[in-house]
Amino acid sequence: MKRNEPLINLFGLILIILLAVFTYLALTDGRQGLTMLSADLEQRVSYSYLLKNVTAAGRTENQHGQAEVIPGREGYENGAVNIVTAIVTDYRMLDTFGEILVLFAASAGVSLLMVERKRGKAKEASEIVKTAVPIIMLFALVTGFYIISHGHLTPGGGFPGGAVIASAFILQFLAFQKSSRKKAFKILESLAGIGLLSMGLIGLYLEGSLFANFLPTGPLGATISAAGIMIIYALIGIKVAAELSSISADFIGE
């Protein structure tokens, strides 16, 4: 194995050089020579994503003929104000689904490798920690649900919100030294996974592409708008929270 190490390093170097070339080419326009940032960004597909409509027909324009996005107006492709959310859960949802599968594989691997065994005597948490943790847990849960439910308006969404909810459960494990409801985590996780996949398949059936938005979008910027993104983010949040909690429950053992 040792002999192949220089070869592997060389292969990694070649991959990095290829990546640099691709990054450089994406930022330059072939017709205008090789100067950085000379590409016409308005011609790129990601610029259309910023304007909320990939097709030219649904785009609105102001009096100067420039495309613009108006808060409160209906009929945008997926009524999310947060452009990161719009890309992550609609235009590039397949990538996000892959990320979720990676997290699922990690969770499954941890529960496979972590054999149950008798726990040694751990030092018990102090009275202050035991009293404070339920109160802090409540705040963490509320913050997590807020981050998930406002994913289409403000920064945040399913992944950070799910992680915050999982951190509330980790605090509980830390203070009380026991893992509760291990089975409930697994059931919630599978239900959320089934829900996500069925959202994708319904989009494929109704709109013709996987994870396409098929629900009404509502006025841009309202709390209850972009129904499809809200449902997808709620499912992602439940799945991530259950997975991270079950990973930490496996670590803490029986």
């Binding site: 920064p155 945040g156 992680a163 980790i170 990973i247 930490s248 053992g253």
Partner: protein, 83 residues
């Protein structure tokens, strides 16, 4: 702003290198947590709030908790830090 980002980046670099040379595993884990907290601050300075929230909750809390639980399992199996 750029000066702050450069200074914080240098602190992160120093912390990440010092993790490798820590004598005790506990100190290494705590230094690692501080590095990820500073990186969350850097994401906030660079206006990437989505990533900052994730980094603060996963990098600074979850990973550290998992490392400490793994360390406890090691100690149950007879690993001694002082050796």
């Amino acid at each position: 702003m750029e000066a702050a980002i450069i200074v914080l980046g240098l602190i992160m670099l120093a912390g990440a290198i010092s993790v490798l040379f820590q004598k005790s595993l506990k100190n290494a884990i705590i230094t690692f947590g501080i590095v990820s907290l500073i990186s969350a601050l850097m994401f906030t300075l660079m206006k990437a709030y989505d990533v900052a929230i994730t980094e603060a909750s996963i990098g600074a809390l979850l990973t550290i908790a998992l490392f400490f639980w793994a360390l406890r399992r090691l100690e149950e199996d007879g690993y001694d830090e002082k050796k």
